[in-house]
């Protein structure tokens, strides 16, 4: 029914509940993977509590770890994971996961696809577009219509299958297992579970 506790973030456009949830999960991953959470974000994460499903347990774990993580610790962890001295522990780029190198063909294919969908990166961002956070942000935007219009499930599936399906699960597994991961371990788990759900759900379209 119409009892929706998350109204503040949900836009007027009435997206079906389950599609909004997908957008929220992509949004959460995009936010946490693009930069460490600040005080406000950590506060919101602390309130998270899921049920007994695999995804629910991962969400609960994130809430618990967030409760004992300071802003400084989160920033240190993020830097060790993704920035580091020279390089971080992980390279969260599609091209790297698919070819072993950055800026290879998968990035070119992605840029073409983005152009076709009418999506471009912000001018002051120099991060290659195949960063996992960017891809999650694009998925969220395709669902909610942040890029001018909501895209069809077919468009979403094509984007997911081309740019995420082959490697995102591996990345999230690596993120959970990374030596530096504490707060980001449950983020990795949420990502794994969510990617599994996405793959399964696309299968239902057939």
């Amino acid at each position: 029914m119409a009892d929706n506790p998350g109204t503040a973030v949900v836009e007027d456009r009435a997206l079906p509940e389950e599609e909004q949830l997908r957008a929220d999960l992509y949004g959460l991953l995009a936010r946490l993977l693009s930069a460490p959470p600040g005080a406000k974000e950590l506060g919101a994460l602390r309130a998270l509590k899921g049920d007994d499903s695999a995804l629910g347990r991962a969400v609960t774990a994130l809430g618990k770890v967030a409760a004992v993580t300071s802003v400084e610790a989160a920033e240190r962890e993020y830097n060790r994971l993704f920035i580091g001295v020279g390089r971080g522990e992980l390279l969260p780029y599609g091209s790297y996961y698919l070819t072993g190198f950055l800026n290879e063909k998968p990035l070119a294919v992605l840029r073409e696809h983005m152009a076709k969908l009418g999506i471009a990166r912000v001018d002051n961002v120099h991060e290659p577009e195949d960063h996992i956070a960017t891809l999650c942000e694009i998925m969220a935007g395709l669902i909610t219509g942040a890029f001018g219009r909501p895209f069809s499930l077919e468009d979403q599936e094509a984007f997911f299958n081309t740019h995420l399906a082959q490697w995102a699960g591996h990345f999230f597994t690596d993120l959970e297992a990374a030596e530096s991961s504490v707060l980001y371990a449950p983020v990795g788990r949420i990502g794994q579970e969510f990617m599994r759900i996405e793959v399964e759900a696309w299968r239902m379209d057939a």
């Binding site: 973030v9 909004q20 999960l25």
Partner: protein
């Protein structure tokens, strides 16, 4: 038509699978990434720097 056939089972599945992630996730999805990035000049510069390093090391 095709969409409707697909919609029913996909919807049921996602509802079931998604119950684990409460609506609170919506609140945690938080501020858009781009707004954050524009403000955090320092961290963007750092990221640019590390990407540049990767690009150099990847090019041989």
């Amino acid at each position: 038509m095709e969409e409707r056939k697909a919609g029913a089972s996909r919807r049921d599945f996602l509802k079931l699978a998604g119950t684990g992630a409460p609506a609170a996730v919506a609140a945690a999805a938080l501020a858009p990434v781009s707004a954050e990035a524009e403000e955090a000049t320092g961290s963007m510069l750092r990221e640019t720097e590390h990407v540049r390093k990767y690009l150099e090391s990847a090019r041989f």
